[in-house]
């Protein structure tokens, strides 16, 4: 029995032509691999469970506030004189660098307290204002903050109280990167260097764009 190869050949040619057309249109049929950064890029961004934090002036800050722009989130506290100001200064430099390299990209820089007992929303905003008034300082209910931090792989606990500041806090020193769909896209590991973070962010954003354009994920 002889097989008729014509329909199969026709199908192969059709698929190839569609593939080339999609590729020419900037669409990718294949999966893309997450870039290597100082930290980690998730192959699939993680959707966040709803949360409610508090910003200054009694306004709630929820998952909706993370939509429409990239966000960088750091957890710290105002009684921290060493690591937290260092990270805020790196945030400021990162903001300045990205404003030059990606002037159209909207970015949010957020610091959430791990010490809501002492850090009110007003205090947090005043703290970040010292570095840049465009930064967001957040506090809120301690259970809400704990759950939100856990989603972003951040842990913290109260440290010793044999110091004149009352007590210290132990906390993860990573920075969470949130994409414009409000999803957890990447983690920047410490020590944080603005120059490295700027390069890594370009990779994370490029990966997101490739991913958005890949038909593989539809």
């Amino acid at each position: 029995m002889r097989l008729n190869h014509k329909p199969i050949l026709f199908l192969i040619i059709l698929i190839l032509m569609l593939g080339i057309a999609a590729w020419r249109a900037g669409l990718n049929l294949l999966p893309v691999t997450p870039p290597k950064i100082y930290g980690m890029t998730f192959s699939e961004p993680k959707t966040l469970a709803p949360f409610v934090l508090q910003s200054a002036g009694g306004r709630a800050f929820t998952q909706k506030d993370l939509h429409g722009h990239w966000s960088f989130i750091y957890f710290g506290y105002t009684h921290c004189p060493d690591a937290c100001p260092i990270t805020m200064l790196q945030f400021k430099q990162l903001q300045e660098t990205l404003r030059k390299t990606m002037p159209k990209q909207r970015l949010a820089f957020i610091m959430v307290t791990v010490d809501p007992e002492r850090d009110t929303p007003k205090l947090m905003q005043a703290y970040v204002n010292h570095f840049a008034t465009s930064f967001h300082g957040l506090s809120g209910d301690s259970m809400e903050i704990k759950a939100f931090a856990k989603q972003l792989f951040v842990g913290y606990q109260r440290g010793e109280d044999n110091t004149a500041i009352g007590y210290t806090m132990y906390h993860s020193d990573s920075i969470a990167v949130i994409n414009p769909d409000g999803q957890f896209a990447a983690v920047f590991a410490s020590p944080h260097k603005a120059k490295n973070m700027a390069q890594d962010f370009l990779k994370v954003a490029a990966y997101q764009q490739q991913r958005d354009q890949s038909l593989f994920y539809r």
């Binding site: 009684h79 004189p81 060493d82 260092i86 606990q157 132990y170 906390h171 020193d173």
Partner: protein
Amino acid sequence: MRNRVRYSLLALGLVGSTATFADCKDLDVKGAWSRATAPVVNVGAVYFDLTNTTSQAVTLIGGSTPVSDTVELHRREMKNGMMGMRHMHAVKVAAGQKLEFQPGKYHVMLIGLKHPLKAEQVFPLSLQCADGSQRKIEVLVHKIMQ
């Protein structure tokens, strides 16, 4: 006669510099700086490089300054993957040892700042050793440190 006086003075100088008992005031402290602070915070950190150029170990226990109520020695440390700081009640510095009071390592913690630290400001700080001796230094406040 004149030479004899000269040699005596030189001898005295040598004796003074190799004293048997280490004194905090002989510690070599370089480049002391602090960061300008937000008006709402009441803590600050002081950094410098400290070398014990004496022939004996010294033990730092704290300090004092007119700009804050309390001065403590703190060390950055990791615990369960989390970063924190520990109040060090005594920090021993061996003879010849260099200790970095720098971001991520040791720092002098100023607690209860009377006023925010302002860029370009210079303030005095006394480091206290266990034997009661002190090393007085001047700290320059930086606007931004990378």
